[in-house]
C-alpha cells in the first residue's frame, strides 16, 4: 500500500542507493564518507530505539557498546601489527571474525551492565547506565598500552572474506548492508513473541508480570541484542576511521545517540535512521560554518521537540496508523 509511511521509506532506501551516483556526479568522495557515517550511526540509533522506544528503557550509556566494538577491532589489529596476535592467531584481521568478536565483547558487557542496571527503573536506570559507560570510558583513558587518551590507530582496515575494503564505495555498501540487516532483524524481533513481551512490558509492566512473564529476563536479552548491534557499528566506525579513542564511549556520544533516536522518531524502524542522517548532515553543514555549531543545533532540536513531538519521522508519516 502506498501510504505516506511506505513512500517515505522508499525514498530513504532510494537515497541510500543513490549515494555513490551522487558522489560521482558531484565529483567528491565526501558524500560517501558522510553517508557511510549515517549508515553506521543509523545502526546505533536503531539498536537504541529497541531499548528506548520499544522497551521504555532509557539507556544513557549506549556509547559504551559502540566504543567496545571499536576497541575490540582496534586492539586485535594492534596486536597483529605489533606481531603479538591475540592467542598467537592472525585470523583476527578478517572482518567475518573480528566483527562478530566485537559484537560478542559488546554483548558480554551489555549482559553484565544490563543485569545490574535493569534491577532499577526510571531515572535510576538512566543514571546507572551512564555510570557504567563512564567507568568504561575512564578505563580506556587509563589504558596507556592501548593509547590511553590519544586513542589507537588501525594500520589497515580489516579484510572482508579475504578482500580488501579500502575502497570507499565497497566499504559504503558493506555498511549499508549491515544497516539493512539490522533494520530487518529489528523489524522481525519487534513483531515476534519476544518483541511483544518487550513492548507489552513497556506499556504495562505490572500486567505482563501478572500474566507470568519474567519481564527482567526479556529486557536483559533486548539489552544484549542492542549492545551487540552497537558493537557492530563500533567495529565499522573503527574501520572507517582506522582509529578509535575513548571519545567513542563518552557520555556526550551517548547523548548524541539519544538525540538521534528522539529527533528521528521513537518506536519507528526508519525514524532513528532518519534522525542519524539529520544529525550528521546538520553537524557536517554547521560545523563547517562555525565551531559553535551546537548553538544553532540546540534550538533546532528544541523546535523538532515542540513542533514534531513524534520526531521527524512522525511528522513525515502524518496520520498514518502506527
Amino acid at each position: 500500500m502506498l501510504n505516506r509511511t511506505n513512500l517515505a521509506t522508499l525514498l530513504v532506501v532510494l537515497a541510500f542507493l543513490a549515494v555513490p551516483m551522487a558522489a560521482t556526479w558531484l565529483g567528491t568522495n565526501y558524500v560517501i564518507t558522510l553517508a557511510t557515517r549515517v549508515a553506521i550511526y543509523g545502526i546505533v540509533a536503531v539498536s537504541l530505539d529497541m531499548l528506548v522506544g520499544r522497551g521504555n528503557l532509557v539507556s544513557f550509556g549506549h556509547a559504551a557498546y559502540f566504543g567496545l566494538g571499536g576497541y575490540a577491532v582496534a586492539i586485535a589489529s594492534f596486536h597483529l601489527a605489533n606481531d603479538v596476535p591475540i592467542f598467537g592467531w592472525s585470523g583476527t584481521n578478517e572482518a567475518l571474525i573480528a566483527w562478530p568478536l566485537a559484537m560478542a565483547v559488546a554483548g558480554l558487557a551489555a549482559l553484565v551492565i544490563g543485569a545490574l542496571s535493569l534491577r532499577t527503573a526510571g531515572v535510576y536506570f538512566i543514571m546507572i547506565t551512564l555510570a557504567f559507560a563512564q567507568m568504561l570510558f575512564f578505563l580506556f583513558v587509563a589504558l596507556k598500552y592501548y593509547g590511553g587518551d590519544d586513542g589507537l590507530s588501525l594500520s589497515t582496515r580489516n579484510l572482508f572474506a579475504g578482500n580488501r575494503i579500502t575502497d570507499s564505495r565497497t566499504f559504503y555498501w558493506i555498511c549499508v548492508s549491515a544497516l539493512a540487516l539490522c533494520v530487518l532483524l529489528s523489524w522481525r524481533i519487534l513483531n515476534s513473541r519476544f518483541g511483544m513481551v518487550l513492548r507489552g512490558a513497556a506499556a504495562s509492566e505490572r500486567r505482563m508480570a501478572a500474566l507470568g512473564f519474567p519481564v527482567y529476563r526479556y529486557r536483559l536479552a533486548a539489552f544484549v541484542i542492542a549492545g551487540m548491534m552497537a558493537g557492530l557499528a563500533g567495529a565499522l566506525w573503527a574501520n572507517q576511521n582506522r582509529f578509535v579513542s575513548p571519545d567513542m564511549l563518552s557520555w556526550v556520544r551517548s547523548g548524541e545517540f539519544l538525540v538521534m533516536v528522539i529527533m528521528g522518531g521513537l518506536s519507528s524502524l526508519v525514524g532513528p535512521v532518519v534522525g542519524a542522517a539529520a544529525f550528521l548532515l546538520i553537524e557536517s553543514y554547521l560545523s563547517g560554518a562555525t565551531e559553535h555549531w551546537q548553538m544553532i543545533f540546540g534550538p533546532f532540536v528544541l523546535l523538532v521537540a515542540v513542533f514534531a513531538p513524534r520526531g521527524l519521522w512522525g511528522a513525515v508519516r502524518g496520520k498514518d496508523r502506527q
Partner: protein, 248 residues
C-alpha cells in the same frame, strides 16, 4: 486439597494493619467471596496472594505448594490469574493483543525472535475465544484504551480467562459498571465458576449471593466471619460491622 491456603498472614503499612493475621482456606472448585468495607484490606490481600505485596509474616500455599517466596510471574505460571480493581491493560495494543499476551505467557518461554506473533494462530485463536467468552469479540481490533469502561472491565476478565488459570482472583470485577453490564458479568461468572476456583472480591451483594459458595467478611484487615452466604447474612456482627452500615 485446598486451592488456596493462607496461614497467619500479616501486613502493615506503617501503623495501619492492612492484613491482620488472616488464615483462610479456599477449596478446589469453590467460589469464595471476600467482602468488606472500603479500606478493609481486600486489594492488599489479593496483592499478597499474587506476590505483588510481600507479607510481613505468614504463609501462602497454592494447590498444596508453599509459594510464599515465589515472585509474581512464577505464581502466575503455576495457574494463578487475577483481574485488577483498577484496570491494568496494555495501552497501544488491541483487545485481541491483550488477550493474546495471556495466551502467549502460558505457551512456554517467549525467546522466539523471528515469526510474527500477530499472525500466529496458536495465539490469536485462543485469544479470540476468550474475547468471545465475555462478549467482546466485535471489539477485538479496538485499542484497549479506546474501549468503554465496561468493556475494559470485560477485557480485564477475558485476559484472565485466556490464562486458563486454576485459581482466579477477581478484584471488584463489576466496579463502575451499569446494572445491565453488571448483570451480564454475573452471567459470565456463573458460566465459568464450574470450571475453576474463584476468589471474588465484590461490593455488589446481589452478585455475591448469586455466585459465592462461601463468603469471608474482612474488617480492618481481619476476617470477621467465614460461612455460607446465608450464614454470613444472618450473622449479627457482620450486620453491625458491614451490611447494616449501608452496604456499598
Amino acid at each position: 486439597m485446598s486451592a488456596l491456603q493462607l496461614e497467619g498472614l500479616r501486613k502493615s503499612f506503617g501503623s495501619l494493619r492492612a492484613t491482620d493475621n488472616v488464615s483462610l482456606g479456599v477449596e478446589d472448585g469453590e467460589c469464595h467471596a471476600v467482602i468488606g468495607p472500603n479500606g478493609a484490606g481486600k486489594t492488599t490481600l489479593i496483592g499478597e496472594i499474587t506476590g505483588e505485596i510481600a507479607p510481613d509474616a505468614g504463609r501462602i500455599s497454592l494447590f498444596g505448594v508453599d509459594v510464599t517466596s515465589w515472585n509474581v510471574p512464577r505464581r502466575a505460571l503455576s495457574g494463578l490469574a487475577r483481574s485488577f480493581q483498577i484496570t491494568q491493560l496494555a495501552p497501544g495494543f488491541t483487545a485481541l493483543d491483550n488477550a493474546a499476551f495471556a495466551v502467549q505467557a502460558r505457551q512456554g518461554h517467549s525467546f522466539r525472535f523471528i515469526a510474527d506473533a500477530r499472525k500466529d494462530k496458536r495465539l490469536r485463536e485462543p485469544a479470540l475465544a476468550a474475547l468471545e467468552q465475555v462478549g467482546l469479540a466485535d471489539r477485538a481490533d479496538r485499542n484497549a484504551e479506546a474501549l468503554s469502561h465496561g468493556e475494559r472491565r470485560q477485557l480485564e476478565l477475558a485476559v484472565a480467562l485466556a490464562m486458563q488459570p486454576r485459581l482466579l482472583l477477581l478484584d471488584e470485577p463489576m466496579a463502575g459498571m451499569g446494572p445491565e453490564e453488571g448483570a451480564r458479568m454475573v452471567e459470565i461468572l456463573r458460566g465459568i465458576k464450574r470450571t475453576m476456583t474463584i476468589v471474588l472480591v465484590e461490593h455488589d451483594m446481589d452478585a455475591v449471593f448469586a455466585l459465592a459458595d462461601r463468603v469471608s467478611v474482612l474488617v480492618n484487615g481481619a476476617i470477621l466471619k467465614t460461612g455460607t452466604p446465608r450464614e454470613v447474612r444472618d450473622d449479627a456482627r457482620v450486620r453491625d460491622a458491614y451490611l447494616g452500615a449501608g452496604a456499598h
